[in-house]
Subunit: 255 residues, 2 copies
């Protein structure tokens, strides 16, 4: 399977600290060494790094760990291949345009025997169940709202409906964003932590590194970090419920 | 305006040497400092780096200069903004999926007063004339060949037809690839060099750097490098003709 990391904030924030612990799971503290990727939204723009090398040895992952890229919407993934070869086209996150925005998707899980097929406009490029699911989701959204992006209520309902079609085929935890909205869906395993004032220090599980967020933040800052399993051992992470779709905005989960 | 760099080869080759000279034009030897980008195809996968910083100071461009990524189809761009703010979403190359492949496009020129508008499935994300042209090209291809990619003859004819609709609006030099085929279109300015046995040394115009390709190649290797203006001062570059669309394959222009 794989692991997911997401971040949603009210001000552009770098993910160097969280990504350092996460990348360690890509071959050092855990076995997810079949590629990795990360997407940073910056306004309407989207910076996407993918690599079929293990995150722990990839020179591009090393750059992402030390070069602070500030973003309000980030989705990252480390891969342990189930379906599809170890190859660049099978690395998450996947990025496709819809309604004049980039959409980014990463998946942890394994959908087996899914007979749903997207039409010619939403053909996958690689071989993964994950990219297929992403194509099906975008096609469903486009067909339901051909003129453009609807409001969040309608989008949430459409995502729930399409997710309900896919989730019976196997574990289907995912992160999805268009740089404006941000969703986390928990099928089996996903947790989040919200960092807000009063800030304190946090210590990574996967690397002996502590950051004191009091030194790096302003009182109004708010950051939600979402991950397959908690990244720190001294913060309170909230486990999402199976079947729960959460939209995040400005660093807060929306009830 | 901007500058273009492309590479098409018969075996995966790194572009470090050419990119080092090209990146120098992104703020050091020339004025194209409003962002840059590069796309590397690796099989069906595509690695895309874009940055709104000048190529000459971007940490990501520094990585691309020193980290050899091997690819048979590469498209790079340095930007001097004409239309659209200096922002990530306006950096070339642009990448969109069609027919189960990524398509990549970069443009040197300036289209003014173009009244053509793509439909909802091919909406641009940024504000450039270039991304608009790319969306129009892909939409034209999709509408003409809705079931999938046709043969090269039909594709060439379709590209010529759509290019003829766009070129009257201003300079429109472009590079386009889906990782399998590779096109260069010259509206006003584009040159190429083919490196093949017997190999020799070459010296960059924009940096005092010489590479002896005899030390790096095998006899069967063949590499075409396409650029807005020649990158080396001791090789024979061929100037393309205005209105010329050239398909490259395995490092050779196809007559």
């Amino acid at each position: 399977m794989c692991q997911l990391l997401g971040m949603n904030c009210n001000v552009p924030t770098d993910i160097c600290f969280s990504f350092q612990g996460f990348a360690a799971r890509g071959g050092q503290t855990d076995e997810h060494r079949d590629g990795w990727g990360i997407a940073f939204f910056e306004g309407r723009g989207c910076r996407l790094f993918v690599d079929e090398q293990p995150a722990i040895t990839s020179p591009i992952a090393a750059l992402v760990q030390r070069y602070p890229i500030h973003s309000t919407h980030v989705i990252a993934h480390i891969r342990k291949a189930t379906q599809g070869a170890i190859a660049l086209e099978n690395c998450h996150p996947f990025r496709r345009p819809l309604w004049g925005r980039y959409w980014v998707f990463a998946h942890n899980g394994n959908l087996e025997g899914c007979s749903l097929k997207p039409g010619p406009l939403f053909q996958p490029i690689g071989e993964t169940d994950s990219e297929l699911a992403f194509c099906l989701i975008l096609e469903f959204l486009q067909k339901n709202f051909p003129e453009g992006k609807p409001g969040l209520g309608q989008l949430n309902a459409a995502l729930q409906a399409m997710t309900a079609q896919l989730a019976p085929f196997g574990p289907f935890n995912y992160l999805l964003s268009d740089g404006d909205d941000f969703w986390a869906y928990c099928s089996t395993q996903l947790s989040y932590v919200v960092r807000a004032a009063p800030f304190r220090a946090a210590h990574l599980i996967d690397a002996d590194l502590t950051v004191d967020f009091r030194e790096l933040t302003r009182p109004q800052d708010r950051v939600a970090v979402i991950a397959t399993t908690p990244l720190t051992d001294d913060e309170t992470w909230t486990k999402m419920e199976p079947g729960q779709l959460l939209a995040f905005r400005d660093g807060s989960p929306q009830a």
